[in-house]
């Protein structure tokens, strides 16, 4: 095994894993609070990639070229608009179905996912979009021939995703809002009796999840540079895999699951086979669920009669 390839794959895996972790947070929080797989989440992430590109294009048109400024403005705008998406989706497609059979919100989520994909495809065209490199530059390790590199964007990606995860964990653990979220997660009826506006909390959770997906979208777009309207599905499924891997409902679990998935996927495609990397990711999911159904950090599910 060559050391520099291993190093490179680990770096790529960490970057990929942080992204999965960020998106997984949205799945895990929504699942934790209303017990529903939010199928449209991957497409929310896809929308955020488009908004990032649009934002960069508009800002460059007005002659802004400072990388830091560009990235910060793009992050803020994308988070704002994508949060609106998350909020409206919940309001339109899930809220009226709060008390209906378990499958109904899932079907409407699949509907939302189709609508979002097709809406973006119709408006922006089906072609692959790209963004210019905003932050060139790499750190290099190793000698002239055998080296691995970490781009500045990758550093930014990992730092920003860890920072936002830390912020989110702080919000959930320490603030009043977070306490309300956890209360609703444990027992929505009791929380409502104690004066918590559960509908508002659920909306907030969707907004937080969408904002995290927006951060992921911005970072991925800056890192890989190209995307199209269908990226949401596969990324979404993998992020969900990450959430399950870490134990659904658990925030640190989502991040851990994301990084494990990203690392193993990256190592697999580096040393075994690129074509089957998705097969590998899904097989990992199946194996984890068979041998450890509650995930790595999740609490085992106890069924009560």
């Amino acid at each position: 095994m060559e050391f520099h390839i291993l190093g490179q794959q680990l770096v790529n895996g960490l970057a990929l894993g942080s992204i999965y972790g960020l998106i997984a947070v949205g799945y895990t929080m929504v699942y934790g609070i209303i017990g529903m797989i939010n199928f449209a989440h991957g497409d929310v992430y896809m929308v955020s990639a488009y908004i990032t590109a649009i934002c960069i294009a508009v800002l460059s048109y007005f002659g802004i070229s400072s990388a830091a400024f560009l990235i910060i403005i793009t992050l803020i705008v994308t988070m704002f608009i994508v949060s609106l998406y998350g909020w409206s989706i919940e309001r339109i497609a899930y809220k009226p179905l709060r008390n209906s059979p378990r499958l109904a919100p899932l079907i409407s989520a699949i509907g939302v996912s189709l609508v979002l994909q097709n809406y973006v495809q119709v408006s922006q065209g089906a072609k692959t979009q790209a963004v210019p490199t905003i932050l060139p530059g790499v750190f290099r390790f190793g000698n002239e021939t055998d080296f691995f590199q970490i781009t500045y964007i990758q550093v930014l990606l990992v730092v920003v995703s860890f920072a936002s995860m830390a912020l989110l964990t702080y919000i959930i653990q320490k603030t009043s809002l977070g306490r309300q979220c956890r209360a609703v997660q444990q027992d929505p009826k009791m929380a409502a009796i104690l004066g918590i506006n559960t509908d508002r909390i659920i909306s907030t959770v969707f907004v937080l999840g969408a904002a995290m997906a927006a951060i992921a979208g911005v970072l991925v777009t800056l890192n890989y540079g190209s995307f199209d309207f269908s990226v949401g599905f596969i990324t979404g499924v993998k992020a969900f895999t990450a959430a399950v891997l870490g134990g659904i409902g658990s925030l640190p679990g989502a991040m851990l699951g994301g990084i494990i998935l990203g690392m193993s996927e990256s190592l697999f495609s580096g040393f075994v086979n690129t074509d089957y990397k998705d097969v590998f990711a899904f097989s990992l999911l199946v194996l984890v669920l068979i041998f450890r159904p509650s995930g790595l950090l999740g609490k085992p599910l106890v069924e009560k009669v």
């Binding site: 294009a57 179905l97 609508v115 399950v244 097969v279 069924e303």
Partner: protein, 428 residues
């Protein structure tokens, strides 16, 4: 946000709608207003403005309607159904004349293909294939209550069994049907056995992963499956009679020569239609009988309360597995017909997650567990895209929108499930 409790109702409605309109503008603005073109962009601000105006007008109209007693009553009648009874118990008298209706429908279904064009025939065959798939998934999701998001995997197994089977071991159309059914059921068993002990939603995601694995393997294992180029299946035959203009295989006679009629390219599709139609009827009959048998009752009981069932000594893994395998089997049969309908050519792009979602939508929209509902939903959902073909760009958009709307309007589907009844009095 900026509304005031003292506002007169019309003003409050206006403010509320304005807020909704502004949100809509923010949502539609960037995606449909600024079109990316390489690294730069073109602006089309008209589109988001129109969309936001529509949203604003719709919301305002709704709010105004809510202010009048007439409008309130109207909207109530339209109402998004909430908390209605989930299960209807049918009376035996409901079914008094049912057999006449069924007979008429059956005869009509058999006569229909002779009056259809080739294009309409392929669509009709596809619609009936989806009826089959819907019936299969209905067992898994509707009756046994197991959420399967990877049903397309079994469909793919069926289609590829026929295609690869005829390529490598010379499998014909008729032999492919039982072989594909068995193989799909075995796949269902292999997947189901370890997975069925899991909690419901995990099952959903594992089946989704399984569906993707099958598709990816079919796509990447180029040396065996032909990869993205697909695989070619044999032409269907009837007692060795081919439906081609001239016989492709040595010693075979084309259908039209045998009967001394003129060659008609539709014959093959009429034949396929009739076979798939009969197969679907058989399946409907089979499943409706199965539902009132101990096995069918165990499925439904397990869906309602797993712990109670296990306490009563029902082996939940075996019962679930039987549902899963039977659903998979039906999917496999559907796959064979699909390969034949496609002119014998299948490739992995036909087996994406969208298909699974479509089949699931058929089951849920039809009313889970209800056979009639599933049949109607399958026909509507496969014919609808053909009707919408003129708006082909917006097809999926309309389809997804309808899926959301139907769920909001009737979360339990068109025709909610009916309990099979025991006694003449109709008390179950």
């Amino acid at each position: 946000m900026f509304s005031n409790p003292n506002d007169p109702p019309v003003l409050a409605a206006f403010k509320d709608s304005l807020l909704v309109g502004v949100i809509a503008l923010l949502i539609f603005g960037p995606i449909s207003g600024i079109i990316l073109d390489g690294y730069s962009f073109n602006t089309h601000f008209k589109t988001p403005l129109i969309l936001a105006t529509i949203v604003f007008a719709g919301r305002f109209a709704y709010q105004m309607a809510m202010l009048t007693p007439w409008g309130q009553k109207f909207l109530e009648r339209l109402a998004f159904s909430k908390g209605k009874r989930s299960v209807y118990v049918g009376s035996p008298n409901d079914h008094k004349y049912l057999w006449i209706i069924l007979l008429v429908l059956f005869a009509a279904g058999l006569i229909l293909p002779f009056y259809l064009s080739k294009y309409a025939l392929t669509v009709a065959i596809l619609a009936i294939i989806y009826v089959l798939l819907g019936l299969g998934l209905n067992i898994v999701v509707g009756l046994a209550g197991l959420l399967d998001l990877g049903f397309v995997a079994f469909y793919a197994v069926g289609a590829y069994t026929f295609a690869l089977g005829s390529q490598y071991i010379g499998l014909g159309f008729w032999t492919a049907i039982p072989v594909a059914a068995a193989l799909a059921a075995i796949f269902g068993g292999i997947l189901g056995f370890p997975v069925l002990r899991m909690h419901g939603d995990y099952l959903a995601i594992v089946t989704l992963g399984f569906g993707e694995i099958i598709r990816l393997v079919l796509n990447n294992w180029t040396s065996f499956t032909g990869g993205p180029n697909g695989a070619k299946a044999a032409e269907p035959t009837l007692f060795g009679l081919e439906f081609t203009r001239t016989a492709k295989t040595e010693g075979h006679i084309p259908f039209h020569e045998f009967f001394g009629t003129v060659y008609n390219p539709n014959t093959k599709f009429i034949f396929l239609y009739i076979v798939v139609f009969l197969m679907a009827c058989l399946m409907i009959f089979f499943f409706s009988r199965l539902r009132s048998m101990p096995m069918g009752r165990a499925w439904e009981a397990l869906r309602e309360d797993e712990i109670a069932c296990r306490s009563l000594g029902i082996n939940h893994v075996i019962v679930k597995l039987s549902a899963f395998m039977m659903g998979a089997m039906t999917g496999g049969i559907g796959g064979v017909f699909f390969a034949a309908q496609q002119g014998g050519f299948v490739n992995p792009t036909s087996f994406t997650f969208f298909e699974s979602a479509l089949i699931l939508a058929i089951v849920v929209l039809g009313g889970m567990g209800s056979t009639v509902g599933v049949v109607i939903a399958a026909l509507v959902l496969t014919l609808l895209p053909e009707v919408l073909r003129d708006f082909s760009d917006y097809r999926v958009l309309v389809f997804g929108g309808l899926m959301i709307f139907m769920m909001l309007w009737k979360p339990r589907g068109f025709l909610p499930i009916r309990r099979p009844y025991f006694s003449k009095e109709g008390q179950a």
